[in-house]
C-alpha cells in the first residue's frame, strides 16, 4: 500500500467513524432508582452492624485517609459512609433472618452497582492529574472498577505494596508475568520494582501507559548514563530503546530481543566482517571465531549506546 492509498484509507475510515457517530442510537438505561434518604445518624447507623464480626467489616477504613474526619476532602468528613455508598435508605431497615437487605451502592467486581457509577464516585474526588486520562484508557474500556484493584476498607491498599500490586496486575497480564520469569528481566519478581514504576494504569496519553513523556525518557530515569547527548550517537538508541531491548524480560542477556551478531546484522551489512555469515563452524569445537563467541560484535564495538571519545566513531572507544 503506498502512502497515498494509506491516506485514503485513513480518511475513509475516519469519515465512516464520524458517520456512525451521528447515526448511533443512544441506548439510555432506563433503570428506576429506589427512593433513598440519608440516615439520621451517619456512620453510627452503619457501624451498628458493620463491626469487626460482620461479613462486611468496615472499621479498617478509619485507619486510612478515607476515614479521616479532619481533612475536609475526606469522605468521612463529608457524608461519612454515605459519601461513597450513597443515601442509606431502606438498607438500614432490619430484615428477618434469611431475607436480603435493600441494596446500597456497593463496590467491587461482583457488586450490583454498575461499574460506571462506582468509578464515578471515586473520580468525583480523584479526577486529578494522575487519573486525567482514565476516560478512554485501556482499563476504562475493559470496564474495570476502581475496586477491581483497590481495597478501600483495608489498613493499607494492596496496590501500595510492590508484591501485591504486581500479583494483581499479572492476574490479567499473563504475557507480562511470563516475561518477568525469563532469565533476563527487570527485578519485578524480587519485589525490587513494581509495575507502576514505569506505567500509570489510570491512563496516559503515551503508548503502553508509560508514565513519562516518552519510552526513552522513562528508561533514562534510572539509566541516566545513556541520556547523552554524545559525540557519536548510535541512532536507534536515541530513537527508541525498545528497538533492541524487551523491557519486561528476554531469554537473551541484557533484555536483548536477539543476540549479536544477528541482532547487529539486522542493520549493518557493509562489506567486510559486518556482512559475513557466522556459523557454528566458529564454535570452540571448530575454529573459535571472535566475531561470534564471547561478546561477539561487542568484543570490539563495546560502546553500543554511543561514544563521546573523539576516536569513537566506530563505537570502539
Amino acid at each position: 500500500m503506498n502512502s497515498q492509498r494509506s491516506r485514503s484509507v485513513v480518511v475513509g475510515f475516519i469519515a465512516a467513524l464520524i458517520l456512525t457517530n451521528f447515526c448511533a442510537i443512544a441506548a439510555e438505561p432506563n433503570e428506576k432508582q429506589p427512593d433513598r434518604s440519608f440516615s439520621s445518624k451517619g456512620a453510627d447507623t452503619c457501624l451498628k452492624c458493620h463491626d469487626e464480626d460482620n461479613a462486611y467489616p468496615v472499621l479498617p477504613i478509619f485507619k486510612t485517609r478515607h476515614g479521616n474526619r479532619v481533612d475536609p476532602r475526606s469522605p468521612m468528613a463529608q457524608l461519612q459512609c454515605e459519601t461513597c455508598h450513597g443515601p442509606v435508605g431502606d438498607h438500614q431497615i432490619a430484615v428477618k433472618e434469611g431475607e436480603k437487605k435493600a441494596p446500597i451502592r456497593a463496590f467491587g467486581t461482583k457488586a450490583w452497582t454498575p461499574v460506571a457509577e462506582q468509578n464515578g464516585v471515586c473520580l468525583s474526588c480523584h479526577s486529578d492529574l494522575h487519573r486525567m486520562n482514565w476516560a478512554g484508557g485501556p482499563h476504562e474500556k475493559e470496564n474495570m472498577a476502581c475496586a477491581s484493584c483497590h481495597v478501600i476498607h483495608a489498613r493499607q491498599d494492596p496496590m501500595r505494596d510492590s508484591v501485591a500490586q504486581v500479583e494483581k496486575c499479572m492476574s490479567c497480564h499473563i504475557n507480562q508475568r511470563a516475561e518477568f520469569n525469563r532469565t533476563s528481566a527487570h527485578p519485578i519478581r524480587y519485589g525490587k520494582m513494581r509495575c507502576t514504576d514505569c506505567h500509570n494504569p489510570h491512563g496516559t496519553m503515551t503508548d503502553k501507559l508509560v508514565n513519562s513523556t516518552s519510552k526513552n525518557d522513562l528508561c533514562y530515569t534510572c539509566h541516566t548514563e545513556k541520556r547523552g547527548p554524545l559525540l557519536w550517537t548510535h541512532a536507534p538508541v536515541a530513537e527508541d530503546c525498545t528497538l533492541c531491548h524487551s523491557p519486561h524480560g528476554s531469554l537473551h542477556p541484557a533484555l536483548l530481543k536477539k543476540q549479536p551478531p544477528l541482532l547487529c546484522q539486522s542493520c549493518h551489512a557493509a562489506s567486510g566482517h559486518p556482512s559475513a555469515a557466522y556459523t557454528a563452524d566458529g564454535l570452540p569445537s571448530g575454529t573459535p571465531d571472535r566475531f561470534l563467541l564471547g561478546r561477539s560484535c561487542l568484543n570490539c564495538h563495546s560502546q553500543v549506546h554511543g561514544s563521546n571519545h573523539p576516536s569513537g566513531v566506530k563505537l570502539l572507544r
Partner: protein, 694 residues
C-alpha cells in the same frame, strides 16, 4: 514544512470537529446541603485513635543458603552459601487530628533493603523519605590478568604475544574477579496543600551506581581484551511542582533538573599484545544534565467532553572535556576541532487528548502526539585513530541525529447492550529523521475489537489489527565509510506490513472457580527488504486458573507459551531465530487449623530455547535456560500478637550458552575474554521468621 503544518492543522481541526457539538454544554451539579444532613451525626462508634495510635508489625528472620551462585542471588542478595539475617517492619500512626506516619522497611539485613517513611498532617502537608538499594550480582566465574580501576595494568613479567596462545604467563597471572553493581537511591519529598485550589510539591532524589561491569576493547583491527571496568555514577534529580485544582479543571506546572556525573572519566589499560601501542584508552559516559518544564492539565467543564493535554520542553546538554584521539605517542593525529562537544538536544513533547461520551452507549477518544528531538550540537570533522593503533588520516563528521514524530489515534467504543461492546480505531504515525537512510516513514494501522459477555460466567473478546508502514526513499548515508550495503533496509526504517490477532476468554464457572485464557499472534512482513530483517512472527498463549475449594483450601495455576520467530537475510546467506519460552506455575494454600496454622506451596517452571540457523555452515546447538523453583511455607500463629513462619525453597537452574561455554580466557586467539561460563545451580534456602504484631 508547509505540508507538515497543513497536516497538524487538519488533525487539530478534526479533534475540534469531534468535540464541537457539546462544547457549549457545561456541567451542572446538584449541591447537597451537607451541614443540614449531618448536623445531628455524632460518629460515636467511630474508632478513637487516642487509645491506640501506633500499630503494625516487625519481624526477624534467620535463613540459610546451601550454595554459592550469583545467578540465584542476582537481585535478592542471597548469592553466597551461609547464614543470613533478615528483618522487616511496617508501622502506622494516626491520631484524631489527622497526623499520620507510616514507617516501613524490608529486606533489612540483605543487600536489597528498602526503608520508607511517609507522614504529615492529612489535608495540610506530607513528607516522605525512601531509601533503597539494589545489588545486582552479574558474574561470578570471571578471571583476568588485569588489576586496577580506571587504569588497568598487567602484572610484571607479562609476556606480550601476537595471539592469546602466546601469553605464556597467563595461567599464573589470572585471578578471580566478580562482577556486580550496587544501585542506591535516596528520595526526599514533600507536599504542601496551601488551599483547596493550590498545592505544591518538591522532591530531591540522589542515586548512585557503583561496582564493575565487563567491557571489551580492541587494538587496531583484530585484537581485543575484556576488562572488568569500574562503575561510579551519580544522578541527582530536583523537582518542583505546583498544582491547581478547581471543579472541572486540574493543572500542573513542573520543573525538573537532573544531573548525571561519572567519577571515572576514562578507562585505560595495558596492551597485552605485541602491537606497538603500549596502552589503550576509551571514553566513558560523560556527565550530562537535563532541564525540563512540564505543563499538564485537564478540563472537565463540558458535560460529555473531557480534554487533557501535556506539554514538555526539555533540554539535554553535555560538555565533558574530550579525551585525546589516542594515548599512543607513536601516532600524530591533528589537533581536535574542539575541546568538548557542547552537545545540546531540545526535546519537545506535546500531547492532546479528547474524550467524548457521545451517548451512554458510545464514546469517542482521540489523541494527538507530537514529539521532536532537535539536536543543535555543532558538527565538526574528526580525524580519528582506530583503536589507539591505526592512523590513516580518515575523518568523519559527527551526526547530530534529530527526530520528529507525530501520531494521531482515534477510536470509538459502542455498547450495544450490557453484553456486546464493539470498538474500533485507527492510527496514523509519521517519523522524520535527520542524517539517516530514510527521512520519512508513515504508518497507518486500523483495529477492531468485539467484547461479548455471554452471561455472568463467560465472556470473550477478539481484536484484530492491521498496519502498514511505508518509507519515502532509502538512501545509503554517504559519509559513512565503508558505506552500508545499498540493499540493506534497517528494520525501524523499512516498509512493513503487520497484522495482529488477540483472543481472550474468561470463565467464572462458579463463585469458586475462575479461568482466563488468552492468545495473541503478531506477524510483521518486511518483504520489500532484500538485506536485513525480512519477517518477524510472535505467538503466545496462556491460561490462568483460580480455585477456592472452601475457605481453607485454594489452588491456583498458570501456564504460558511464547514462540518468537524471525527471518533475516545477509548478503549471501539467510538466518532464522526461533525462540520458545514456556512458563508454568502452580500454587496451593491450606488452612489446617483456623486462624492458627496455614501451609502452602508454590512451584514455577520457566524454560526457554533459542534456535539459530543459517543457510550456510553447520547448525548451532540451542541456547537453553531452565529454572525450576519450589517453595513450601507454613505459618503458625502462636497467640494474638506472635506468629512464626517457616519457608523452604529449592531452586534448580540450568543454562547452556555456546557464546561462553567452553570459551576459556584464551580460547579465542585474538580476544582475551573473562572466561565466564553459563550459570548452573541447585540451591536450597530455608527461612524461619518470627513476627510480632502490635
Amino acid at each position: 514544512m508547509k505540508q507538515r503544518c497543513y497536516r497538524q492543522f487538519a488533525l487539530i481541526s478534526l479533534m475540534g470537529f469531534v468535540a464541537w457539538p457539546v462544547l457549549a454544554e457545561t456541567q451542572t451539579d446538584d449541591k447537597l446541603n451537607i451541614d443540614d444532613i449531618t448536623k445531628s451525626w455524632k460518629c460515636k462508634y467511630c474508632p478513637d485513635f487516642s487509645e491506640k495510635q501506633w500499630e503494625g508489625f516487625f519481624s526477624f528472620g534467620l535463613g540459610n543458603v546451601s550454595n554459592d551462585s550469583y545467578k540465584f542471588g542476582e537481585f535478592n542478595g542471597l548469592y553466597k552459601k551461609g547464614t543470613y539475617l533478615n528483618g522487616e517492619f511496617n508501622s502506622l500512626y494516626r491520631d484524631n487530628e489527622g497526623a499520620y506516619w507510616n514507617l516501613r522497611g524490608d529486606n533489612l539485613g540483605l543487600e536489597s533493603p528498602n526503608i520508607g517513611i511517609e507522614g504529615g498532617r492529612q489535608g495540610l502537608y506530607k513528607l516522605n523519605l525512601d531509601i533503597d538499594q539494589i545489588t545486582r550480582y552479574t558474574l561470578d566465574t570471571s578471571r583476568t590478568p588485569y588489576s586496577g580501576s580506571t587504569t588497568q595494568t598487567l602484572p610484571g613479567g607479562w609476556v606480550p604475544a601476537a595471539s592469546t596462545a602466546g601469553f605464556t604467563t597467563l595461567a599464573t597471572d589470572l585471578h578471580d574477579v566478580n562482577i556486580s553493581t550496587q544501585r542506591r537511591s535516596m528520595k526526599l519529598g514533600g507536599e504542601y496543600i496551601a488551599s483547596s485550589q493550590w498545592s505544591y510539591a518538591a522532591s530531591f532524589k540522589h542515586q548512585t551506581k557503583e561496582g564493575n561491569r565487563p567491557v571489551a576493547f580492541g587494538f587496531g583491527f583484530n585484537r581485543s581484551v575484556t576488562l572488568s571496568a569500574p562503575v561510579d555514577f551519580t544522578t541527582d534529580d530536583l523537582e518542583f511542582k505546583a498544582n491547581y485544582q478547581q471543579t472541572g479543571f486540574n493543572g500542573q506546572i513542573a520543573l525538573l533538573h537532573s544531573k548525571f556525573e561519572n567519577t571515572n572519566k576514562y578507562l585505560r589499560w595495558d596492551n597485552a599484545y605485541d602491537t606497538p601501542a603500549s596502552q589503550g584508552q576509551a571514553g566513558t559516559e560523560p556527565d550530562n544534565s537535563k532541564h525540563q518544564l512540564l505543563l499538564s492539565g485537564n478540563y472537565l467543564g463540558f458535560k460529555d467532553v473531557q480534554l487533557t493535554g501535556m506539554f514538555s520542553y526539555a533540554q539535554l546538554s553535555q560538555n565533558e572535556v574530550f579525551l585525546p584521539y589516542t594515548v599512543n605517542g607513536a601516532l600524530a593525529p591533528p589537533a581536535l576541532p574542539t575541546t568538548s562537544l557542547d552537545g545540546k538536544v531540545t526535546v519537545i513533547n506535546t500531547n492532546l487528548a479528547a474524550h467524548w461520551q457521545y451517548s451512554p452507549a458510545q464514546a469517542w477518544h482521540a489523541v494527538f502526539e507530537h514529539s521532536e528531538q532537535n539536536n543543535s550540537t555543532a558538527r565538526y570533522t574528526y580525524t580519528y585513530v582506530r583503536a589507539d593503533d591505526v592512523f590513516t588520516g580518515t575523518s568523519r563528521a559527527n551526526f547530530p541525529y534529530g527526530f520528529r514524530q507525530q501520531k494521531l489515534k482515534i477510536d470509538t467504543d459502542y455498547k450495544f447492550d450490557n453484553q456486546i461492546r464493539l470498538s474500533g480505531g485507527g492510527q496514523y504515525a509519521t517519523v522524520n529523521r535527520d542524517y539517516q537512510s530514510v527521512e520519512l516513514t508513515q504508518e497507518t494501522s486500523l483495529w477492531a475489537r468485539l467484547k461479548h459477555r455471554l452471561d455472568n460466567k463467560l465472556q470473550y473478546s477478539v481484536k484484530a489489527e492491521l498496519s502498514d508502514r511505508s518509507i519515502d526513499n532509502y538512501n545509503v548515508v554517504s559519509e559513512v565509510v565503508p558505506p552500508d550495503n545499498p540493499l540493506m533496509r534497517k528494520y525501524n526504517m523499512a516498509d512493513r506490513k503487520g497484522n495482529k490477532l488477540e483472543f481472550n476468554l474468561s470463565v467464572a464457572a462458579t463463585d469458586a472457580l475462575s479461568m482466563n485464557f488468552s492468545s495473541d499472534v503478531a506477524q510483521f512482513d518486511y518483504s520489500a527488504t532484500t538485506i536485513g530483517l525480512t519477517k518477524s512472527d510472535e505467538f503466545s498463549a496462556g491460561a490462568d486458573i483460580q480455585y477456592l475449594v472452601n475457605k481453607d483450601l485454594s489452588f491456583s495455576g498458570f501456564v504460558h507459551t511464547t514462540n518468537i520467530k524471525s527471518e533475516q537475510a545477509g548478503t549471501t546467506w539467510t538466518a532464522t531465530n526461533d525462540d520458545k519460552v514456556n512458563t508454568l506455575g502452580l500454587g496451593g494454600s491450606y488452612q489446617i487449623i483456623e486462624n492458627k496454622l496455614k501451609v502452602g506451596l508454590d512451584y514455577v517452571h520457566a524454560g526457554s530455547s533459542a534456535a539459530i540457523n543459517l543457510s550456510t555452515g553447520s547448525p548451532f546447538p540451542d541456547l537453553t535456560t531452565k529454572r525450576d523453583s519450589l517453595a513450601l511455607h507454613a505459618d503458625y500463629r502462636i497467640d494474638k500478637n506472635l506468629s512464626v513462619k517457616g519457608t523452604y525453597q529449592y531452586e534448580k537452574y540450568d543454562e547452556k550458552n555456546w557464546y561462553i561455554d567452553n570459551v576459556a580466557v584464551n580460547t579465542l586467539s585474538d580476544v582475551l575474554t573473562l572466561g565466564n561460563t553459563a550459570p548452573n545451580y541447585k540451591i536450597g534456602v530455608y527461612w524461619l521468621t518470627l513476627r510480632y504484631n502490635y
